[in-house]
Amino acid sequence: MCLGVPGRVVEKYEEQGVLMGKIDFGGIRKPVCLEHVREVEVGDYVLVHVGFALSRMNEEEANRTLELLAELGQLGEIEEPSS
């Protein structure tokens, strides 16, 4: 139920006074409410739950976690996907 999926903001627009975005989930695009993350910009990744973006994904933190993991077991080979 608390499922959250990361997606990339491809467009921002207003609809009836509500800030919305078109979000790309690996090829599938859906309208998502951006009212709770108004500061996001096109190209940012957001975490989406029941049609609402709840958080802007923090790339620095993601890389930090991956670096820690790499230190764990010489995981230099973990490749970051390009999109």
Binding site: M1, C2, H36, V50, G51, P81
Partner: protein
């Protein structure tokens, strides 16, 4: 997909498992709080890959599972009214109440609709001014900003035909209830990553301090889960109890400030009855009194509801981490996802349903 694939990496999971094996020197019992985590753990077989010293018990974090039978029956009564369009997340449709489930009601001609977002329910109310649109607002804190926004917009747009049946539950009070219970065996928690995305994690700091129990905010992918388990075990082995954030790419300490403000504008904390666990004080949200016009439970007066839970079902003990699904004589026999007897079998995120859908009832039969 960025932010997903790298956290499903097989090499990283193997390295984490090795590190957990190296670290652990004695038995530890951890609880993953969120139903989404339970689902992911069972689906990926993570509990079976861990060394035998590390036991995962599955927490009460599935809102579909813990929604009380009374509320499900109330939803059923409201949805059966001819003027009502009853909207719900798909997960709730198959949960059986005393009178059957919402899907059956739909097949009998009632207007029951699945919505992806609470905003879709508001749209329906605008499109059908002659009908009453009721939204079943269930969920943990994760879903509260979305559900609150639907009420906020209905209020702002002056919609008189929109109301919500609120069944919101909160994580910190149920964690405290588990820790306070005499038979508690949980020694560390994988904190619910998406609940904390909204609420942040300051509410968990007093719990860590008072009960001296590690809490590691944890995500949902295999690497996230194993990383959360490793961080918890490292604390336990060192005799520490700290709050750590293992899901920094999504969660920050203060959470989503705008979302939290909207929740406060629309809801207030109330006592809530949990299916399988009973009444827990201050463990839910209800609408603020000034928004009572949007409360479907007040708008639609349904007769007194009396419910009877199964006497065989042990979901209460499973939700507390005291028993596992295969400890129940009905698991996979009288009780299946098609005809569930209790909380933990009603949704795919419940521990029993997760075990069942991964075929663990078959393993059980094979060993008997």
């Amino acid at each position: 997909m960025k932010y997903l694939d790298e956290f499903r990496d097989a090499k990283a999971t193997r390295a984490l498992l090795d590190k957990i094996r190296e670290t652990v020197t004695q038995l530890w019992t951890l609880m993953e709080v969120c139903g989404g985590q339970t689902h992911s753990i069972i689906r990926h077989g993570i509990d079976q890959l861990l060394p035998p010293e590390v036991e995962l018990v599955h927490g009460p974090g599935c809102p579909v599972c813990v929604t009380s039978l009374e509320l499900i029956d109330r939803a059923h009564r409201i949805a059966s009214r001819p003027e009502v369009i009853f909207c719900s997340f798909g997960d709730m449709l198959r949960v059986p109440g005393s009178l059957g489930d919402l899907l059956q009601l739909k097949s009998q001609g009632s207007d029951v609709r699945v919505v992806y977002s609470p905003l879709d329910a508001v749209k329906l109310a605008e499109q059908h001014p002659e009908r009453e649109v009721v939204f079943f607002a269930i969920g943990f804190e994760t879903t509260a900003p979305a559900n609150a926004m639907s009420v906020h917009l209905a209020h702002r747009r002056g919609l008189k035909n929109y109301s919500v049946l609120v069944s919101h539950v909160l994580v910190p009070p149920v964690m405290v209830a588990l820790l306070e219970s005499e038979d508690n065996r949980v020694q560390g928690f994988l904190g619910p990553g998406h609940v904390c995305t909204v609420m942040g994690f300051q509410d968990y700091e007093p719990i860590v301090e008072k009960y001296h129990v590690p809490i590691v905010v944890t995500g949902f992918e295999p690497v996230d889960l194993l990383n959360g388990i490793l961080m918890s075990i490292q604390q336990l082995e060192r005799g520490e109890a700290k709050l750590e954030n293992g899901y920094g790419r999504v969660v920050c300490r203060e959470g989503n400030v705008r979302g939290r403000q909207l929740i406060e504008d629309i809801f207030e904390v109330c006592d809530r009855k949990w299916r399988g666990l009973g009444m827990i004080p201050q463990s839910g949200y209800k609408l603020r009194p000034e928004l009572a016009d949007f409360d479907a439970a007040l708008r639609f007066d349904v007769a007194d509801i009396e419910t009877q839970e199964s006497t065989i079902c042990i979901s209460g003990e499973i939700l507390k981490g005291l028993k596992k699904p295969y400890d129940c004589p009905a698991f996979g026999k009288e009780c299946t996802p098609d005809s569930p007897l209790g909380a933990t079998m009603v949704s795919s995120e419940g521990a029993c349903a997760a075990y069942y859908s991964s075929g663990r009832h078959l393993q059980l039969n094979a060993t008997n």
